[in-house]
């Protein structure tokens, strides 16, 4: 059963076998696996519970309702806009459905550097089950929209690797509104799959419940304390929920999971350190013909041609949907120049380059600490490695769109660079880069509670058990020691399915 914040009239104390904090791909998966095995499971989720009839395809409704900080989450200096889900189902409610297994070379890096025990063989059955349950299948090229097709055709003309993606949908109408909650339940989010499975086996889900801290003593976690929120206002109702389980699983996602550990005084090891974002730079390419990037599957093509670069950090290229609100926030400038770009919205192809972070020697990534109100504060300073990669990504995007016949390509620098020919690309090398001098975004948050054998370098052990508190697990994208180089949802599901076995063992 799913309980909403305003359906609870008094303080509650619950004593299940397992308390799971968060209901995204990590929490929902562990809940399903454990409930199926007979455990009494309670899931606490800060976000609200929403269904397809409430997804009105309006950005002004969706972002405040379904995203962290009502759609305004950002790094402390606002230089990085953070798109991160906040709802029953977590990020799976609002992501763009792109589904990849964890690359073999990434798993090898984790094993070599951090003592991870994850192998392709160990994860294969978990990925296979996830793919079947979520209907993950490769997109036919004919089903891509013009926004994605431009990437495909441009890459092909340049001889670059490119392919269609795999998506977790069934009966997709390709409306283009994945990021605002699927209005027809085609997207196989956790809300439609693993959570109902868990609930059918007796799991209880409490929506609108912000876990403020974990109580612990010695090497044992004793309780998770939740503040109940009103579903409409998200303000605290004044009621609390105290859960005293045998095992606690933190699955709040990167940024929120490390913040919860810090609020709880669990600051052993590198909590909040080495947070990875796949930092994104974007470009807008203007075509004579209408692109209508607001309709169609938002992401159906990707190029990993530049994933492994000798010059520095790798990056991969994908599309972003082109709805007015998100586009206006991302586009550079103000006043007449901004309005002129917006008036060409239907003719814009929006393409992003996602930096693969975490693989450079000494690379530190971002840091999560606590804001005065206890929420996560994110700092992610950029240096030469990042700037080189951003510039390379911008130039690659411009090149593929010029090859595909775009009239002009605009950068998202504060002073936008207009590119109509190859020679114009030089300007990207000299344009100033720094916080809020160009647009940077993230939709893939990872790390901050990294897994590893060495407690000085990792928060949880290779089985995702906390190094100090033995009945506490962290199971979500925050345990990844690096970025992935692919969209993370399926990796989180697969690793969580694998980790559920270790949580179950801790129960017995």
């Amino acid at each position: 059963m799913i309980h909403k914040g305003d359906q609870i009239a008094q303080d509650l104390v619950l004593k299940p076998d397992v308390c799971i904090v968060g209901s995204g791909p990590g929490g929902s998966m562990v809940a399903q696996r454990l409930a199926r095995g007979g455990a009494k499971v309670v899931v606490l989720e800060e976000g609200g519970f929403w269904t397809k009839d409430e997804f009105d395809m309006q950005e002004a409704t969706a972002f405040p309702r379904l995203y962290q900080d009502r759609g305004n989450r950002a790094s402390a200096d606002l230089s990085i806009s953070v798109l991160q889900g906040r709802a029953v189902g977590g990020g799976t409610v609002i992501n763009w459905t792109t589904s990849y297994r964890t690359p073999d070379d990434v798993l090898a890096f984790w094993r070599d550097r951090e003592g991870s025990v994850l192998t392709p063989e160990a994860l294969r059955p978990h990925f296979e089950e996830v793919e079947q349950r979520l209907g993950i299948a490769k997109v036919d090229l004919e089903d891509t929209n013009a926004n994605n097709r431009a990437i495909y055709d441009g890459c092909k003309k340049l001889g670059w690797q490119v392919d269609t993606t795999r998506r977790n949908v069934r009966g997709c109408l390709r409306t283009g509104y994945c990021g605002m909650g699927c209005p027809v339940d085609a997207k196989q989010s956790a809300t439609l799959t693993y959570l109902p499975d868990a609930i059918a086996k007796g799991a209880e889900v409490y929506a609108d419940c912000r876990v403020t801290k974990i109580e612990w003593s010695g090497t044992r976690a004793t309780a998770a304390i939740g503040a109940l929120l009103h579903p409409g206002t998200q303000q605290a109702t004044g009621l609390t929920l105290r859960v005293e389980p045998r095992v606690i699983v933190v699955s709040g996602g990167a940024l929120n999971s490390p913040a919860l550990l810090l609020r709880s005084g669990l600051d052993q090891g590198p909590v909040g350190k080495m947070t990875w974002l796949h930092p994104v730079v974007a470009m807008g390419s203007f075509y004579k013909d209408r692109i209508e990037g607001f309709y169609g599957a938002p992401q159906s093509v990707a190029s990993h041609h530049f994933a492994h670069r000798s010059e520095g950090a790798g990056f991969f290229i994908e599309a972003a949907p082109v709805h007015p609100m998100l586009s206006a926030i991302a586009m550079p400038g103000f006043g007449a120049p901004l309005r002129e770009r917006m008036e060409k919205l239907a003719n814009v192809s929006a393409t992003i380059a996602l930096m693969i972070d975490g693989f450079g020697e000494g690379e530190e990534g971002g840091t999560v600490s606590l804001r005065p109100d206890g929420g996560p504060r994110l700092d992610y300073p950029f240096g030469a490695r990042q700037y080189e990669c951003f510039r390379a990504g911008m130039k690659a995007i411009a090149r593929l769109h010029l090859a595909n016949g775009a009239d002009e390509v605009h950068s998202f620098h504060t002073k936008s660079i207009r590119i109509v020919k190859e020679a114009d690309l030089e300007a990207i090398d000299t344009a100033p880069l720094g916080p809020n001098l160009f647009g940077v975004f993230t939709a893939h948050q990872m790390g901050g509670c990294r897994m590893g054998a060495d407690p000085s370098r990792a928060v949880v052990d290779p089985q995702l058990r906390h190094h100090l508190v033995k009945n506490l697990f962290v199971v979500d994208g925050s345990v990844f020691p690096t970025g992935l180089g692919v969209n993370p949802m399926e990796s989180i599901y697969g690793v969580s399915s694998w980790a559920a076995g270790h949580v179950r063992a801790a129960l017995s």
């Binding site: 006043g335 109100d373 504060t414």
Partner: protein, 188 residues
């Protein structure tokens, strides 16, 4: 003037001085007030802060010449400042305080003067001066000014272009309600 600006930009103390400037007497040059629409009760902004945000939205969302696609409403018609007030009201106390300081600084005549602009509040500048003031914040070497500019620009844009009243002006036909309705109906 150039040396003062240089000092402000280069020192950490500059940021403190800039914050203090919000209370300096030159700032007594008052904000040009603007009335919220009838029925709009302010939850977070003071009347002065509402007026500053409304003035910022007017320039951030300004356009020149006739609308090429379809008529676009003025920011005031969408009540960008009023909706910003409602959006910001539940923010944590620390963020609320930061925002209020930001707005006070942005409309501060002394601060404008110290930064090489006209010695008057933003709300009393002419449109060209306002654009230059915004541009100076957008590209400032002081990171806190760039951050402040982004905060105001992003929320103003989100509110304006998130409004269905503006969709036609950017060539966006809006969500495909009929398609969704027909498919859901058929499934039922």
């Amino acid at each position: 003037m150039e040396s003062r600006r240089g000092l402000l930009k280069k020192t950490v103390g500059g940021a403190v001085l800039l914050a203090a400037a919000g209370a300096v007497p030159l700032a007594l040059r008052k904000t040009k007030l603007r009335e919220p629409p009838p029925g709009r009760k302010l939850l977070f902004f003071t009347p002065a802060e509402y007026s500053i945000w409304a003035a910022v939205a007017d320039r951030v969302l300004a356009r020149e010449g006739p609308d090429p696609i379809a008529p676009s409403p003025a920011p005031g018609q969408v009540d960008v400042a009023g909706k910003a007030d409602a959006f910001l009201s539940p923010l944590p106390e620390n963020d609320r305080k930061d925002l209020k300081q930001l707005l006070a600084l942005f409309d501060n005549a002394l601060f404008s003067f110290l930064m090489g602009g006209p010695p008057r509040p933003f709300t009393k500048m002419d449109p060209a001066q306002q654009d230059e003031h915004l541009r100076s914040w957008q590209t400032s070497r002081l990171a806190i000014r760039r951050t402040g500019f982004q905060a105001m620009k992003r929320l103003s844009c989100a509110i304006y272009f998130g409004s269905p009243d503006t969709y036609a002006s950017v060539g966006y036909p809006g969500p495909p309600y009929e398609l969704v309705k027909s498919v859901l109906g058929a499934r039922r």
